[in-house]
Amino acid sequence: MNIKAREICKTFGKRPILDGLTLEVQSGETVVIIGPSGSGKSTFLRCLNGLQSIDSGTIQVGDHKLEASNEKRFSPFSSEIRKVQGMIFQDFNLFPHMSVLGNVTEAPARVLKHNQAEARNLGLELLKKVGLESHANHYPSQLSGGQKQRVAIARALAMKPKVLLCDEVTSSLDPELKHEVLDVLEKLKNEGMTLLMVTHEIGFAKKAADKVVFLAEGKVVEEGPPQQILESPENSRIRTFISKLMS
């Protein structure tokens, strides 16, 4: 399922965060967004998922559209766009009062109205996919960061999304735990999932991304295949940024 974002503007107070951002993602593509802190990467993902309103521009994900709306009247609960999009957060945001399996089955059971057995089977299947079926009855507090993030991925997958939005999903993990999350994402990519990721994992981007987008001051500065953007960018800012990341 493809994503089309056109001329997205978003300001917080008087500070512009997104300034006419335009981006297209083709179905099945893995797109990595990089850029300095404050460039609007996370805000862009949140806007795409309807967690935040946009001041102007249009967003289209498959057949679902998001229009600009007044921030005061905006409700993050009314968006239809999430039927096709899942989102993974930097801080996992697992439900601490529910077991691992409960976290995964909650939405299918309550929103999609799966019966208990269906939801459970689906949950266990997804936990197996992320390598955590043996932890089904654990609680989030008993898991490591990498395990938590894998549960969060399984939880998002339970709603059968066509697109996964990943907002710095490895940033709060210890280095040795990052690969277990990235491996799962790579597996999903190979199964045909459309991935839009904000990340600093240059290695992963080189290996798995179809396209890398460099964002600065709310605009796309340059986009292209990973080799081009990461190894021989036209823009000097990208060079500086990447050399800082690699050091």
Partner: protein, 494 residues
């Protein structure tokens, strides 16, 4: 001798004698010593006091003291004497020294003017469900208890009579004739039922060791009787009747002539103050305390949650209404609220001509008062708890396609309750202790039961320890239960 008198006079002029301290309870009401419409202190006892001060040539100062604490206070040495319609009885005679009497009282049963069911105490006893109001620690209360008539006690005669008239929570009031004369006689909606009964004496109480002062006052009372001043005071207050003639007949009160034929039948059973005797009463009070705690806390929770939701998610109108509720009920003392609910509501219903009775039973009034008050606290506790669930939880649920209500019910609320639990439990323990306030609306819970028993037996320490143990026996397990619950409800923290 002749020289001494001018000398004493001179000394008296130079240095006024130290005033005597007289204790009474203004709240007890007319006609003893009370505040009139202009808030001036008046009363037939005040008049007698003034006459005595003149006779003794010493100023007498008033000290406000709760009626049912007069005797403990006297023994503690808080004041020189107590004079407040204090009836002579055997029990008190064993503890304090009484003066010669200054009034012969009788008890008067008063009913509503339209009462057809009974006009005597016996008739009242045989009327199913009839409750008689009286005052704490009075002879009337003892007589009613002795006769096994269901009673409700008040700390002032005004409360008792007004509960009879406007609220109708009780069916009659049995109190000393002077009170009946001041309140019931002028009130067209009340009537005297039958003749006054159960004669006894009002006298001034002294510390038993203060024999010197007692003798002086005895002499002064004699003088007031002889010179007719006492009579004119009683006449002025409409209290003079044929009974009072006996006051001046010396034979009643000769040296050993204590009035032992008046009230003895009650006394034998009061001698044995053993644990077996008062523990059941304290346990009864404990039960009331528990019931009151549970009911009012349930009300506080049931009201508190919607209030917190209104404050967080309501329309601007609802938000300010909820805030108003919280500020109002958090800002007024529970005591005031209870008084209003119990005594104020019936008066409002009456004066507004509504044909409905707003006379709440003591238990309901106390439950409402405490519940409404604590709802304000619970609302704030819940609000803070809901707000302290991280924003990420809302977003995670939203990104899974969960709606606002579903997210609140399944994700936010369960976490908020866990956060609120310690504070809520704290409030429960606080409420448990606050139930003692309910005694002002004539509810005999544990603390009130303790006061009643301690004041009549003077075993403040022993009974106090038992009562404290009873409170602790409940509040400590309550705290433990909360900790267990906290662990149980938080499986993720195991």
């Amino acid at each position: 001798m002749i020289l001494q008198i001018p000398l004493m006079l001179l000394l008296a002029l130079a240095q006024p004698p130290t005033p005597l301290i007289w204790a009474a309870d203004e709240e007890g009401g007319a006609p003893y010593v009370y505040r009139d419409n202009k808030l001036g202190q008046v009363g037939f006892e005040l008049d007698i006091i003034n006459a005595l001060a003149e006779e003794l040539k010493r100023p007498i100062e008033f000290k406000q003291y709760a009626f049912d604490s007069l005797i403990p206070g006297l023994l503690k040495g808080d004041f020189d004497f107590a004079m407040n319609g204090l009836e002579i009885n055997q029990e008190r005679l064993e503890k304090i020294r009484f003066s010669k009497p200054y009034y012969i009282y009788r008890q008067q049963l008063v009913t509503r003017a339209d009462e057809k069911r009974f006009n005597t105490l016996l008739g009242c006893k045989n009327t199913l469900g009839a409750i008689v109001g009286t005052m704490d620690g009075t002879q009337a209360e003892r007589l009613l208890n002795q006769a096994k008539i269901p009673i409700r006690t008040y700390s002032s005669s005004t409360e008792a009579y007004s509960d009879l008239i406007s609220a109708g929570r009780i069916d009659a009031v049995f109190l000393d004739l002077p009170m009946a004369i001041s309140y019931a006689l002028p009130n067209k909606r009340l009537q005297f039922a039958g003749k006054p009964t159960a004669r006894g004496f009002y006298a001034i109480g002294f510390h038993p060791k203060n024999e010197t002062l007692a003798k002086e006052v005895d002499a002064a009372i004699d003088a007031l009787k002889t010179n007719g001043k006492l009579r004119s005071i009683l006449v002025k207050w409409n209290l003079w009747d044929e009974c009072q003639e006996e006051l001046s007949q010396g034979f009643l009160f000769e040296e050993e002539g204590r009035p032992n034929s008046i009230t003895h039948s009650i006394l034998e059973e009061n001698q044995a103050w053993t644990i077996n005797r008062y523990l059941p009463l304290l346990l009864e009070g404990t039960l009331v305390t528990i019931q009151l705690t549970l009911c009012s806390f349930a009300l506080a929770l049931v009201l508190g949650l919607p209030l917190s939701l209104a404050r967080l998610y309501g329309t601007p109108w609802l938000k300010s209404l909820a805030l108003l509720y919280v500020e109002f009920f958090r800002g007024i003392p529970v005591l005031l609220l209870l008084f209003f609910l119990y005594f104020g509501l019936p008066a409002i219903a009456e004066s507004s001509g509504l044909n409905i009775s707003l006379a709440l039973s003591p238990f309901i009034a106390a439950t409402l008062g405490l519940g409404l008050n604590y709802a304000a606290y619970e609302a704030e506790t819940f609000r803070a708890a809901i707000q302290s669930v991280p924003q990420g939880q809302w977003e995670a649920a939203a990104s899974l396609g969960m709606g606002k209500t579903l997210t609140f019910r399944r994700i936010i609320f369960p976490q908020a309750m866990r956060i609120a639990l310690p504070t809520t439990t704290n409030d429960l323990v606080a409420l448990f202790k606050d139930t003692s306030i309910a005694s002002v609306v004539a509810l005999v819970e544990l603390n009130k039961q303790y006061q009643i028993l301690a004041k009549s037996s003077l075993k403040f320490v022993e009974l106090g320890l038992i009562t404290a143990l009873l409170y602790l026996a409940l509040s400590v397990p309550l705290g433990r239960l909360a900790r267990v619950l906290e662990k149980k409800l938080a499986p993720e923290r195991r």
